[in-house]
């Protein structure tokens, strides 16, 4: 039996950090010294990628007030930053193996009558094999990117 918890740390456009987890129902859970409240969400999509090729992730919330607030504070979830950690728990609800953490940037949101979808794309976390081993500067790549769409100049 594997118990899985997602720790979602979302920084919205107004620099407010929202922390939620989806395993400990009706309770808070502490991870890395920070308290995460319960929220009924699920994460779907790629959780990790080696070459930073814009993996997409969808975080699904019920269409309720606090989830709407997350979208609005992130300017339609276009200016949000997400740190998503997936951890595995033992029967005592302790984290057993090193958790997996990935970073994403918001690219929008979608609504239905029951659900609210926050869409994310992977933040740059590594560089493809064809890319020359040079240091990123604004002179080289223009405004420093939030994702892996790079253009050499």
């Amino acid at each position: 039996m594997i118990r899985i918890v997602n720790y979602l740390r979302l920084t919205t456009a107004n620099n407010i950090v929202h922390r939620y987890q989806n395993y400990f129902i009706g309770q808070s859970s502490t991870y890395l010294g920070e308290s995460y409240a319960f929220a009924p969400f699920q994460a779907e999509g790629s959780l990790a990628a080696l070459n930073g090729d814009n993996q997409q992730l969808v975080v699904l919330f019920p269409n309720i007030e606090f989830a709407l607030r997350l979208v609005e504070e992130g300017e339609g979830n276009r200016l949000s930053e997400l740190r998503l950690t997936t951890a595995f728990l033992n029967a005592s609800d302790q984290i057993t193996t090193p958790p997996l953490t990935d970073f994403y940037v918001g690219i929008g949101a979608g609504f239905s009558e029951t659900t609210l979808e926050l869409r994310f794309r992977s933040a740059i976390d590594s560089v493809g094999s064809q890319f020359p081993g040079r240091t990123f500067t604004r002179d080289l790549v223009g405004p420093l990117p939030l994702n892996s769409e790079l253009m050499l100049r």
């Binding site: 039996m1 594997i2 129902i25």
Partner: protein, 129 residues
């Protein structure tokens, strides 16, 4: 506002414990790995049967169904519904700290005898708060 279910002792009662949110991965070999996504049970089920009750009592149940918008609003259960159970067992059945109840289906009313007597069957589900 939560409107408690009428405190009427049922003639018969059936209770099913909730399940935990689990998915099973089964490999081609047949070996399985279970994945658990929450630490509390959900989907409790309570079936109540009221035999040969007068119309006034039937009306109480139907009124409650309407007042809770037919399953939209959740509610708590009064202890009369668990009459005969030990306190310990009732604790499992009620799970008041973690769940609230709602109608799984509209109450089923059967007229069984002249003189305004009916048999009413009610099915409730307990979901996480």
């Amino acid at each position: 506002m939560s409107i408690p279910f009428p405190g009427i002792k049922p003639s018969a009662r059936s209770f099913k414990q909730g399940t935990f949110p689990t998915k099973v991965y089964r490999a081609l070999s047949g070996a399985t790995v279970k994945r658990n996504f929450g630490n509390r049970a959900y989907g409790f089920e309570l079936q109540l049967e009221y035999r040969n009750i007068p119309d006034t009592t039937t009306s109480q149940i139907l009124k409650h169904y309407n007042d809770t918008s037919g399953g939209f609003e959740r509610f708590s259960l009064s202890s009369e519904l668990f009459a005969g159970m030990s306190t310990e067992l009732r604790g499992y059945a009620e799970s008041t700290a973690t769940i609230r109840w709602e109608y799984a289906a509209p109450p089923d009313v059967s007229s069984v005898a002249p003189g305004n007597r009916s048999t009413v069957q009610v099915t409730l589900v307990g979901e996480l708060l």
